[in-house]
């Protein structure tokens, strides 16, 4: 019988792992995905990695934090952590998120209702470490101890005092990247406590105060994006060159003239894709070019840094980086004198730019911003394009990106499109605002260091993969071709990892893609299918 994990364990046993992930305890997947021995397996850390890196949490390393050089270095970081805690709780330093943070610290009734809402906790076979309240309660006790008057004395008198040491902060750091920030927990909380927000505040503390952030999000994320234009490393002229190639290539493939306008001053709409789509899933941005042109929309892309990469990883870990990227995007739109910005198929871009950025986009930078979902709905029902829904006569299900659906409440536009254009559209259970995250949310889908991908496909993405399979349970075999509509780049990256790991394309003929591709596939004017299950 395993011992239950206590909150105070977080500071104990310096170099030992807090828990082991037991594959047999994870919730089962339907056949043929239930045979663990037929899957690629869970990569264990090598001796060399254990030697170099901090790995004291769950046998998984996502942040590749090097071990400290000496005790002084440890001490410096612990002091920075305390000073960061104080900043998080001060209006002057955290005016953006102080109020919801205080409410989430003060009002938790310890009822644990949120645990049963968390896909990571559930998929893990209810491993205590992944309870949304485990991380939050430790954070809460540290705040009460180090920030509130008389806190240290009270902590000594109360049971469950959390000792703050190197082990505590490094485990909290790694643990802050075992959450998708999907906020299903917040939705289920009778008091409105937001454990997703607490997780993100923790990440923010580490980034802004200790300089700790996963390199995929910071150094090769926002920093690279602000410097060269895109976190992919795509520079402006390379982005345009790639689009020219794609315009030509797809003109050949589809038999209709495909063209993409750039830097058109005075256009009605500035469309901002995520640059990763241009490189990895080019059918998606090209589908937009086809649709906008067919519907005679006055639109443009921007080749100014970083106007062609709409991602904003700041929303995952750092307020300063978040503000810098959002302001640059708005400035580009202002310079182009567009009437509004349309946010492409990317969930966190929606959250960053449509809501959070409201706090920093003031005056004439507060340019109207519209979701791709309503934008596409207006195109589909404008009457300007002729559709033949029978071209989409294959099973289709819809994944709800958390940031678009639960967090912004944009639920129906995409469904009205699918009900009209996809005769075999079926919902997952649950869906809409009750959806489960793909498992790559909160920036996790772009993090792939050491053995983190194995954790994402086995644990955080497990419930979603199960849901996808269940949505197609009436025709599970590979003889029926199926389409998972995932209108978000981050979600698609996670599905790519999931499908590759489990072999879903081969075993079940399920492919994934965006929403725009399905719309183009139903256009009467196209002679050949736009969506193919084979390869190009």
């Amino acid at each position: 019988m395993k011992r239950s994990l206590k909150l105070t364990d977080i500071s104990k046993d310096v170099d030992t792992q807090l828990i082991e992930i037991d594959i047999d305890k994870l919730i089962p997947l339907p056949p043929p995905y239930d045979k663990v021995e037929e899957l690629p397996g869970f990569k264990q850390l090598t001796e060399d990695q254990r030697e170099r890196l901090v790995c004291n949490l769950d046998g998984v390393v996502s942040t590749a934090l090097p071990k400290p050089k000496n005790k002084e270095e440890e001490k410096k970081y612990i002091e920075q952590f305390v000073s960061g805690l104080k900043k998080l709780l001060s209006r002057e330093n955290n005016w953006t998120f102080l109020q919801p943070l205080l409410l989430s610290i003060d009002y938790c009734a310890q009822c644990q209702t949120c645990c049963d809402a968390c896909p990571i906790y559930l998929a893990s076979g209810k491993n205590d470490l992944y309870r949304p309240t485990y991380r939050s309660e430790i954070f809460r006790r540290l705040v009460n101890k180090y920030v509130k008057p008389g806190g240290k004395l009270r902590a000594k008198l109360n049971k469950g005092d959390i000792e703050l040491n190197w082990t505590t902060i490094t485990r909290l750091y790694e643990l802050s990247y075992r959450c998708n920030l999907c906020r299903r927990c917040a939705q289920s909380c009778p008091m409105g406590v937001d454990n997703g927000l607490i997780t993100r505040e923790l990440r923010k503390l580490f980034s802004q105060e200790l300089g700790w952030a996963p390199k995929e999000l910071h150094e090769k994320g926002t920093v690279l994006q602000l410097e060269v234009g895109s976190a992919t490393g795509l520079r402006p002229h390379v982005a345009k060159d790639n689009f020219e190639f794609l315009d030509e290539d797809f003109t050949e493939v589809t038999g209709i003239e495909v063209s993409t306008p750039w830097d058109k001053e005075g256009a009605d709409i500035l469309l901002i894709h995520s640059a990763g789509d241009i490189i990895s899933f080019p059918e998606n941005p090209i589908a937009f070019s086809i649709l906008c042109n067919a519907a005679q929309v006055s639109w443009t892309l921007s080749s100014e840094i970083p106007g062609y990469d709409g991602i904003n990883y700041g929303v995952f870990y750092d307020d300063v980086q978040l503000a810098k990227v959002a302001i640059r995007h708005a400035q580009i739109a202002k310079k182009l004198k567009v009437k509004k910005i349309v946010i492409g198929e990317c969930g966190h871009q929606h959250k960053a730019f449509m809501t959070v950025a409201d706090r920093v986009l003031t005056g004439d930078l507060n340019i109207p911003r519209e979701s791709v979902m309503t934008f596409l709905e207006n195109i589909v029902f404008s009457g300007k394009i002729k559709f033949d829904p029978s071209k989409n006569d294959f099973p289709v299900t819809l994944h709800d990106p958390c940031n678009i659906v639960r967090n912004l409440g944009i639920v129906e536009p995409q469904r009205r499109i699918l009900r009209y254009l996809c005769p075999q559209f079926r919902e997952m259970t649950p869906h809409g605002v009750d959806n489960y995250c793909c498992g790559g949310g909160g920036g996790l889908s772009v993090m792939s260091d050491v053995n983190f991908t194995d954790w994402k496909v086995n644990v955080s993405g497990r419930i979603k993969f199960k849901q996808v399979l269940e949505a197609f349970a009436d025709q599970p075999g590979p003889e029926v071709k199926k389409y998972l509509c995932a209108p978000c780049l981050n979600c698609k990256l996670q599905f790519r990892d999931l499908f590759a790991y489990y072999g879903a394309r081969e075993k079940s003929s399920i492919i994934f893609g965006g929403l725009a591709e399905l719309i183009v596939n139903a256009m009467v004017i196209l002679k050949k299918p736009f969506i193919t299950w084979g390869e190009y």
Binding site: G221, V228, V238, L246
Partner: protein
């Protein structure tokens, strides 16, 4: 930083084994990576892909889109997987000594 021995020399690599100092690459490095993945002979077809990836990366600071790689080299995706066991991103880019693609790709 992790280190890896390739063709008798030590190189800095990331946690996934990708070369960090792309300028130190040579053909023996590519052969050593190939051998680690069970490919003992690096053929002219491999070199076509490796050389194109490298030259595109050095010119543009990023790896080419798969679609472009396919069009330029003439190999389709399954042929690329036959040549490079873990595919164009995880094998071909690695053998060519260019960094693992990042940032939502």
């Amino acid at each position: 930083m992790a280190k890896m021995e390739l063709a008798g020399e030590m190189y800095e690599v990331d946690e996934n084994g990708f070369l960090q100092e792309t300028e130190k690459w040579n053909e023996d490095v590519a052969r050593a990576y190939a051998a680690k993945e069970g490919v003992n002979e690096v053929t002219a077809d491999h070199w076509t892909v490796i050389n194109y990836l490298r030259s595109y990366y050095l010119e543009n600071g990023i790896c080419p889109m798969i679609r472009r790689l396919i069009k330029v080299t003439g190999f389709n995706l399954s042929q690329l997987y036959e040549l490079f066991p873990n595919g164009p991103a995880n094998s071909a880019c690695k053998w060519a000594g260019v960094p693992k693609p990042t940032g939502c790709v």
